[in-house]
Amino acid sequence: MAQIKLSNLKHSYYPNPQGPEDYALKEIDVTWRDGGAYALLGPSGCGKSTLLNIISGLLMPSEGRILFGDSDVTALPPDQRNIAQVFQFPVIYDTMSVRENLAFPLKNRGAAPDKIASRVQEIAEMLDVVEMLDTRAAGLSPDNKQKISMGRGLVRDDVNVVMFDEPLTVIDPHLKWKLRSKLKELHQRVQATMIYVTHDQTEALTFADEVVVMQEGEVVQIGTPVDLFERPQHTFVGHFIGSPGMNVLPCQATGDHAMFEGHEVALEGPVTGDGGTLTLGVRPEHVAIGESGVPAHVTKVSDVGRHFIVEAMVGQTPLKAVLDHGAPEQGSEVRLSFDAAKTRVYRDGWIATQERGA
């Protein structure tokens, strides 16, 4: 087990990449602490699977290094990295029994038979599959197959990191939740570093201690689920995480105020830097209806159970608010106020306000 460090990692699927658009991964620098639970979150095609395959050794990065602890594993093949990977579609060896499936990685590495037997037993108990050990793996349900492919990763006690590549895609919704809590439990028991790739924010936020959000081959923010929600570093994070996502509105800024559709809006702190395109970011949860504020016309109110989602137009700009109670009538004129401490300006997508007192 070891800390994993990715240093100046770049990858292109083209033999001679010309510009940044040819890179599936642009400049990745991340350090993953030993024993942590991480999620790699991003939309399809953002490079998260590429990154995963580079860590596991299935892909050689075009540039940069991968360090497990102090050793450079960039050039090592997957079987020498002591990693485990669980794929989107459960991979099991059809002709083998569950027991043989679990024993396979140990057998290939020439472990002693009694050690294999005890490890397999231990892992089977952990995964609740003891009673299936002698059945043929081909006949199992998808969730059990996925457990077995996970087990094949965990059975080795020297495993550095267990990686999950959207492992719940083919699992029935009611079993997803079960398997997810099993994963969390396993992480606490085996203490191995786990990296979980997904495009589903719920999966990422419930599994991980720290989430790495990716977009177009770049890491846009690394943080705890609370960080990502409370203070998105990039409009993409704000929009991608949360349901509905953060309002991203056109604006101008002066000092610690922004002008939005001709109205002055207070910000969390002074705006830094200059140039670029400015946008105002505020989560629907931090928009309230009050006596004063920006005048808006309510276009739609949806009751989603725990709260109301209000869609409104301010001038020509649509925005959303989430209210616990007291939703206005559709078609009515209201005034919206933004929580200043949670309202920020973004320059070319990146956060451009300083937190007061920070």
Binding site: Y93, F104, R152
Partner: protein, 287 residues
């Protein structure tokens, strides 16, 4: 509530008629001949199971059957492993995939009697390209018109040339359907190339391989045109396979009764062996 509507039977009639005229009627004609003796003039005499007994006891039939089994065993033993090896070494993606597929399919597109003629001309000792090369350049004494061994080798090589592609294409279809994740998982699990073949590729190819073996068994067991055109069953009777012998009896000697009995025995053997193959190859499919 029970419905009394029997209209559905009407819709089955076309299929019944089709099956009757292309299978049942011809088949029953053969059965009819197999239990009677005729001397022409449409006069028939009841023979019972006499022809069957005569055929089964005849040395000629037993020898032809032996040759038939040997031929089928040899070509299966060559074509199945060779087909798997070729399929494994074909590219999975890129420019060469269609090229390989077309090259593989070519021999199968050639009409059977053309294949026989091609190989005949190709292997004739004095004038054939291969025959001339073997005899006059390499100094190997090879003459498929005179030596039973040469004739056998030629018939087998011809069949391998003609039909290995079928095994290749079926296996290839099985191979390309294996998701990359299997190979990646195997790499991570530290599996050797042999383990990958044994535990991933072979199990995934099993269904198509079963079909390939069955098709190759049936086709090779019933083979007629190519060896007939190539060797005519000779030299002597050395390459007279069952179907060639059957045609000799039926159309050469015009012994309709024995020929009919032999056809039925032939059919029964093909059916029985196919069934045994199928059962053996699919018996552990049930989890």
């Amino acid at each position: 509530m029970r419905t009394e509507n029997q209209k559905a039977w009407l819709f089955v009639i076309p299929v019944l008629a089709l099956v009757a005229f292309n299978a049942l009627v011809p088949m029953m004609t053969v059965v009819n001949y197999s239990v009677q003796e005729t001397f022409g003039n449409n006069q028939f005499f009841w023979e019972g199971l006499g022809w069957f007994e005569q055929i089964l006891r005849s040395d000629r039939f037993q020898a032809a059957l032996g040759r038939q089994f040997m031929f089928t065993a040899i070509i299966l033993a060559i074509e199945v492993p060779l087909g798997i090896i070729v399929a494994l070494s074909m590219p999975r993606k890129g420019f060469w995939v269609p090229v390989c597929l077309v090259l593989m399919a070519l021999p199968m597109l050639i009409p059977w009697n053309v294949v026989g003629s091609m190989w005949n001309i190709f292997t004739l000792p004095k004038i054939g390209l291969l025959g001339y090369f073997l005899n006059d350049v390499l100094g190997i004494n090879y003459d498929m018109t005179q030596q039973p061994i040469s004739a056998w080798i030629t018939v087998v090589v011809m069949d391998v040339w003609h039909w290995t592609s079928l095994v290749v294409l079926l296996c290839y279809a099985g191979l390309v359907s294996i998701p990359d994740a299997y190979y990646q998982a195997a790499k991570i699990d530290g599996a050797s190339a042999w383990s990958v073949f044994r535990y991933i590729q072979l199990p995934k190819m099993k269904a198509v391989l079963t079909i390939a073996v069955l098709l190759r068994f049936m086709d090779s067991f019933n083979i007629y045109t190519e060896p007939f055109v190539l060797t005519g069953g000779g030299p002597g009777n050395s390459t007279t396979l069952l179907s060639i012998d059957l045609v000799k009896i039926a159309l050469g000697q015009f012994d309709l009764g024995p020929a009919a009995a032999m056809s039925l025995i032939y059919f029964a053997i093909t059916l029985l062996v196919s069934w045994v193959f199928y059962v053996l190859m699919t018996k552990d499919d049930q989890p």
